[in-house]
């Protein structure tokens, strides 16, 4: 039966190729779409997490929106935050270990808008934590016109230490390249950014680090109680909020995936149905020779399955190539391809295609051989 199936597919090379391509696109499209969506969201989440703070204090409830420059806070508030007190296990404690003020602004670099973090290098938690050993080259900024970039932006824009970059009509010299993954892709001294943007004494948010994991939730509440108008969010709550946001995205991606697979399934249905019509005579011969309905169904379904499996394999390869292409063309975009999601979509593509082949296969199995052979 194997040679019958393979030879039949080989004899209709163009049609087989179209069916394989349809499944491939149906599989690759959702993999890349989901990869881009989750990749971008998780990257934002990771960057906020990797700053290394326990609580973010700002005027917005969504720290992912900090780049939009929503509201500013007096920098002097930082000292007051350090003095916040909470009740913990019957004792009054000062839970805050450090407060890092951050001013977030947006500047155009290499033709794209990028968030710029104005920070105090000695207080920004990531520089002592996530990025402690992540200085790829150079050093952290020290002077007013010095800039640190992350390695992805550096690679994308072809920047290196010693280069000058225009930010808001002022030249900054790159003094260091850090590993990407915390906060923004561009870092300058807080006072430089404040001066440049006319935001003297103002910041966008405070990254608060607590002395003990048990203090985090109470600290966030205490800050909101003590400083009306400020919002706090803990890293745990942030992860929950992002996960909640992703649930909505799951529906969107599910809809797009369903649409892509529906089109692929319809192409398979049409291809298989046309093949069955074209092969009415062959099917009639097989039945006249004594082929059972099961045999005919198996032949047609096996052909469909083979097409879909080939399509899914090509789709996985196509998705990988698209990821590679996106990485080259848009180096700052992240396409997250997890094994489970990738192979899940592959399996879904095979299942949908096989399902689409069932109706034509059953139709073929019930064809009357007499009708076929009567007109020979």
């Amino acid at each position: 039966m194997g040679s019958l199936i393979i030879n039949n597919l080989y004899r209709r090379k163009v049609r087989s190729a179209i069916a394989v391509a349809a499944v491939a696109v149906g599989v690759a499209a959702p993999i890349v779409l989901a990869g881009l969506t989750y990749g971008s969201i998780n990257e934002v989440l990771d960057r906020i997490r990797n700053v290394g703070a326990d609580v973010i204090v700002s005027r917005t409830s969504n720290p992912a929106l900090l780049g939009v420059r929503t509201g500013v806070i007096d920098e002097s508030l930082g000292e007051k935050l350090e003095g916040v007190e909470i009740e913990y296990e019957g004792e009054t404690v000062r839970p805050v270990e450090s407060v890092s003020p951050v001013l977030v602004w947006v500047a155009e670099v290499d033709g794209r808008l990028q968030n710029v973090y104005g920070v105090m290098p000695d207080r920004f938690p990531a520089f002592g934590g996530f990025m402690a050993d992540a200085l790829v080259s150079g050093r952290l900024m020290d002077g007013p016109d010095e800039l640190v970039v992350d390695d992805r932006l550096a690679a994308s824009a072809g920047l290196e230490n010693g280069d000058t970059v225009e930010l808001m009509n002022r030249s900054f010299t790159i003094v260091g390249v850090v590993r990407a993954g915390a906060g923004a892709r561009l870092f300058v001294n807080l006072d430089s950014l404040q001066e440049l943007t006319g935001q003297d004494g103002k910041v966008s948010a405070f990254y608060v680090k607590c002395k003990h994991p048990g203090y985090v939730s109470a600290t966030a509440s205490a800050i909101e109680d003590e400083f009306p108008g400020l919002n706090t969010i803990t890293m745990g709550a942030l992860a929950d909020e992002m996960a909640e946001g992703m649930a909505g995205l799951d529906e969107f991606i599910g809809a797009v995936t369903g649409l892509a697979l529906l089109v692929a399934g319809l192409v398979i249905l049409l291809t298989t149905y046309t093949v069955v019509l074209e092969r009415t005579r062959e099917i009639g011969i097989l039945k006249a020779l004594g082929a059972s309905r099961t045999f005919i169904t198996r032949v047609i379904l096996s052909e469909t399955l083979l097409l879909c499996t080939a399509g899914a394999a090509v789709g996985l390869g196509l998705a990988w190539l698209m990821k590679l292409g996106i990485g080259i063309r848009y180096p700052l975009l992240t396409v997250e391809m997890t094994v489970s999601r990738t192979f899940g979509y592959g399996a879904l593509g095979i299942a949908v295609g096989a399902l689409a082949g069932i109706v034509p296969a059953l139709y073929a199995a019930t064809r009357d051989p007499a009708e076929t052979l009567r007109y020979e």
Binding site: S3, L4, E282, L286, A288, L289, G290, S292, L373
Partner: protein, 222 residues
């Protein structure tokens, strides 16, 4: 003593077309072919020979009448059982050969085993040797002459172990050399292996090789 017939048809009627415009293809045909007999079914085109063969092998269900093959009443069987009976007891040879275009000559013979048919002792290669196509086993039907295609179709029929061979104009599309070869194979099957053969034909030479000639006209055996 009951003598079992290899093929028996009783009052077979087949009507094509619509109720308003019916075409009677077979009209109360009675027929018997004894085990080991080589019979030729002759008659002008359109007289119902092919339709009768299709009824006898069970791919066409008659409007009226009954058919027995090797003692089994074919017309009383379900669709699946008729398919099994055809596979295991009847070998079909068609005028247009009806080879599967995707398979080689060898594949077209060997497919019978894949279909679950009971095959004889000879291998597909050996059967192809018998019909003189040992050197063309790997050729696709499109790479064979019409005569060679018909010989592959004959080999396919011989590969199984049928009680009855039904052939529809097996020499209608082949040259005289192939015709002689095919008829020699039929005769050998009949004389040496005892196979029952019913051949629908226009060809007097084919009829001359048969033990008996059955003549049809306008859907009736005359």
């Amino acid at each position: 003593m009951v003598v079992k017939t290899a093929l028996k048809a009783e009052g077979i009627s087949v009507v094509f077309g619509s109720r308003d415009n019916p075409f009677v293809a077979l009209d109360g045909v009675d027929l018997e072919v004894a085990p080991g007999e080589f019979a030729a079914l002759m008659g002008p085109s359109g007289c119902g020979k092919t339709t009768l063969l299709h009824v006898l092998c069970g791919i066409l269900r008659p409007a009226r009448g009954r058919v027995w093959v090797d003692g089994i009443e074919l017309t009383a069987l379900s669709d699946a059982a008729r398919t099994r009976l055809r596979r295991d007891h009847i070998a079909l040879i068609f005028q247009k050969f009806n080879l599967l275009p995707a398979l080689s000559a060898l594949g077209n013979v060997a497919i019978m085993k894949r279909l679950g048919a009971v095959v004889g002792g000879a291998s597909p290669d050996a059967v192809l040797e018998t019909v003189g196509l040992g050197d063309k086993k790997g050729n696709l039907p499109s790479e064979l002459s019409m005569g060679e295609e018909q010989r592959v179709a004959t080999a396919r029929a011989l590969y199984t172990d049928p009680a009855v061979i039904l052939a529809d104009e097996p020499t209608g599309s082949v040259d005289s050399a192939n015709k002689i070869h095919i008829l020699d194979v039929f005769e050998k099957c009949n004389r040496e292996l005892g196979r029952t053969i019913l051949v629908a034909t226009h060809d007097e030479n084919v009829a001359a090789r048969a033990d008996r000639v059955i003549v049809m006209e306008d859907g009736e055996v005359v």
